[in-house]
């Protein structure tokens, strides 16, 4: 189905030239965006692959940590465990900065040293059993892995957003703008041909008249 040119187009050679130029530009823009889209898709799947791995190890470690917590609650008592968690030092800091992939802003998350030794955790050592140290250690390990996972998942989301945006622009060019321009182009070419044929037959008639009159 041909696209209908809906704007008013004056069928002149000047317009023809201008339109050809616009089609050219739109086509180049479209091709560039398509390349960007392909590059983004590759990057997206690479990040997804890393997420798959990061999830596996983070979740495995997390379930180890939860298990240690069960043991600790059984040994120490749930209330005492929660009390100890309130006494622990809770000043963990994550270093967050941004970087750019292909023009997208993507976060990087780093923890300096999640794993602490028993002395620096904050709860009193002689009133708590060693199982508490186990729990803390397992959760500290889990945290490190979860921070990396968070970075990856957030990056995936940022890439997906940009992908969607780019895809929409590619489609707008390919299915709306360029067909419209090409239809206008065709219209002008047809009209110009028509006018030339009219001209030609007019000239022939005039010539015939002149010859007959002379």
């Amino acid at each position: 189905m041909a696209a209908v040119a809906t704007e008013v187009v004056t069928p002149t050679r000047m317009e023809l030239l201008k339109l050809k130029h616009r089609v050219n530009l739109a086509q180049r823009g479209h091709d560039l965006l398509k390349e960007k889209m392909d590059a983004l898709i590759i990057e997206f799947f690479e990040v997804l692959r890393r997420i798959g791995e990061a999830r596996k190890s983070a979740l495995k470690q997390l379930s180890l940590a939860y298990r240690a917590l069960s043991v600790c609650s059984a040994v120490m008592g749930t209330i005492e465990t929660r009390q100890a968690s309130r006494e622990a030092k809770r000043e963990l800091e994550v270093e967050i900065s941004t970087r750019h992939i292909m023009g997208i802003v993507v976060p990087t998350l780093e923890v300096e040293r999640v794993e602490r030794d028993a002395l620096t955790r904050g709860y009193s050592l002689h009133t708590t059993p060693s199982v508490l140290d186990e729990v803390s250690k397992e959760f500290e390990k889990a945290l490190g892995l979860l921070v990396k996972l968070a970075e990856l998942e957030e990056s995936a989301r940022a890439i997906a957003r940009e992908l969607e945006r780019t895809k929409r622009r590619v489609n707008a060019l390919e299915y709306i703008l360029i067909p419209r321009l090409k239809a206008a182009l065709k219209f002008i070419e047809m009209r110009l041909d028509e006018m030339e044929r009219e001209n030609f037959s007019r000239l022939k008639r005039i010539k015939a008249m002149l010859e007959a009159g002379a």
Binding site: E95, L109, V147, E154, A160
Partner: protein, 113 residues
């Protein structure tokens, strides 16, 4: 820049994370108050990373998804499984994201490593 970490979960999950040094903890009680707390974390200048359990995120529902779509780069929000292990969310958000973005169904093969 340095940021603190927050966690929203049930009492046990929160206890575990507190022991590893997480600064801000919140035990989920009901939908409205948890939403308010989450909103607090989202605007806080100190908090850079928020952990929230799948179960609670699902319970909060549409409002949570709306907040995630509207949010800026920080804080980073990660959904985690809770203490009652083995809870797989009904809808894997990442899978849905892939479908929407690439426009095709990608079947992920589980690779045993």
């Amino acid at each position: 820049m340095s940021y603190k970490v927050a966690v929203i979960g049930d009492a046990d999950t929160v206890t575990g994370f507190a022991l590893s040094g997480v600064s801000y903890t919140y035990v989920h009680a009901d939908k409205d108050r948890t939403l308010a707390k989450l909103a607090e974390f989202m605007v806080s200048e100190e908090v850079g990373l928020v952990f929230i359990t799948h179960r609670i995120a699902e319970e909060i529902g549409a409002e949570f998804r709306r907040m995630m779509r509207a949010k800026k780069l920080l804080p980073v929000v990660l959904r985690i499984p809770d203490f009652k292990t083995g809870y797989i969310p009904v809808v894997d958000e990442l899978y849905e994201l892939i479908k929407r973005t690439v426009g095709a169904e990608i079947v992920v093969r589980a690779e045993e490593g």
